[in-house]
């Protein structure tokens, strides 16, 4: 390893520690390759540390807590995304009525969240209309 490499290492150590040029008696800034020294100054000054979003940080904290609990209790590791619950109101999780096709590939459809709310409202309105129509006819 050359002296130049060792000197630059000491210089970087000094820059990161907030000293202008390392231990004075041992290191003269003139001994450093000026371009590499300037690059070290720029990187020390301008490279920032990033932080993940707080939402991500808290979600991962919760997952680690669940894993820690499981390890402590010697249970199997919890599933990602929490427990899987049966969708209420239909065997096999299908929203489609028994007399209607389940879907293009014959699979049951499980729809979540806002889409499910929209379908429920539309389905309830449709059923009410059909019942009303039958009674009228």
């Amino acid at each position: 390893m050359t002296d130049e490499v060792v000197r630059l290492d000491a210089y970087v150590e000094g820059v990161l520690a907030g000293r202008p040029a390392g231990p004075r008696p041992l290191l003269d800034p003139a001994d450093i390759d000026p371009a590499a020294g300037r690059a070290a100054d720029v990187l020390a000054r301008s490279l920032v540390r990033f932080h993940p979003s707080f939402r991500f940080e808290d979600a991962l904290a919760a997952r680690l807590r669940a894993l820690g609990e499981a390890m402590h209790d010697e249970r199997p590791e919890p599933l990602v995304g929490g427990p899987v619950l049966a969708f209420p109101g239909g065997a096999g999780g299908s929203l489609a009525p028994a007399d209607e096709p389940a879907g293009p590939l014959g699979r049951g459809l499980l729809v979540g969240g806002a889409i499910a709310s929209g379908l429920s409202l539309a389905g309830a309105a449709y059923l009410a209309w059909r019942r009303g129509h039958r009674v009228a006819s």
Partner: protein, 197 residues
């Protein structure tokens, strides 16, 4: 007396690990991992972000690393065999392996890289200073991004994570001398890039 001295001489020299008490607590009870998590989540994420240059990919790797660290904590051993082997070094070794896997996955399934738009504004800072420093940050980020992986990694660990040369050697599985040479070459390459801009 001599026997006692000889026994003392055989005792291992263990580097000081600032995390020792937190690590011991989490080893005894994995539910007490959170202080270590809060301390290191940003560092691991930042390391991954410099390496992958993609916010979502960096989050994925951060998650993998910290879950793996908690699972592997019972097997972590602080060592003093010449290379720094603290919890932090061990954690970043896990991160390095996770990043290598991510690079391999990307090579199999190439994606267009999304360069992070940097906004490092500090409230109350002079806009002129802010403009210069932001531009400088962008140039430094780009210069680092053009380096070969090993050099980029070494500079990130040195300047962003502010690790010592022995720590970087421990993370990268290289000798301290090799790390110094790597950083020296990387800084010269960055200097060339900065002068070109």
């Amino acid at each position: 007396m001599f026997r006692k001295a000889a026994e003392r001489g055989r005792q291992r020299l263990v580097p000081f690990d600032a995390d020792r008490s937190a690590v011991e607590a989490a080893r005894r009870d994995p539910r007490r991992f959170e202080p270590l998590y809060r301390k290191y989540v940003g560092q691991v994420y930042s390391f991954a972000a410099y390496e992958l240059r993609d916010h979502h990919a960096a989050e994925d790797v951060t998650e993998q690393v910290l879950l793996q660290a908690l699972r592997g904590l019972p097997s972590f051993e602080e060592r003093g065999d010449g290379r720094a082997s603290t919890f932090r070094v061990w954690l970043f070794q896990i991160a390095r392996h996770a990043l290598a896997n991510e690079h391999r996955r990307r090579a199999r399934h190439p994606q267009a890289p999304l360069d992070a738009a940097l906004d490092v504004s500090t409230p109350g800072q002079d806009p002129a200073v802010l403009a210069v420093s932001s531009d400088e940050t962008r140039r430094a980020w780009q210069a680092i991004g053009r380096l070969p992986a090993e050099r980029r990694r070494a500079l990130t660990l040195r300047f962003v994570e502010e690790m010592s040369t022995p720590e970087i050697a421990g993370v990268m599985g290289r000798s301290e001398g090799a790390v110094r040479v790597l950083i020296h070459r990387a800084l010269r390459a960055v200097a060339t890039e900065l002068e070109r801009d």
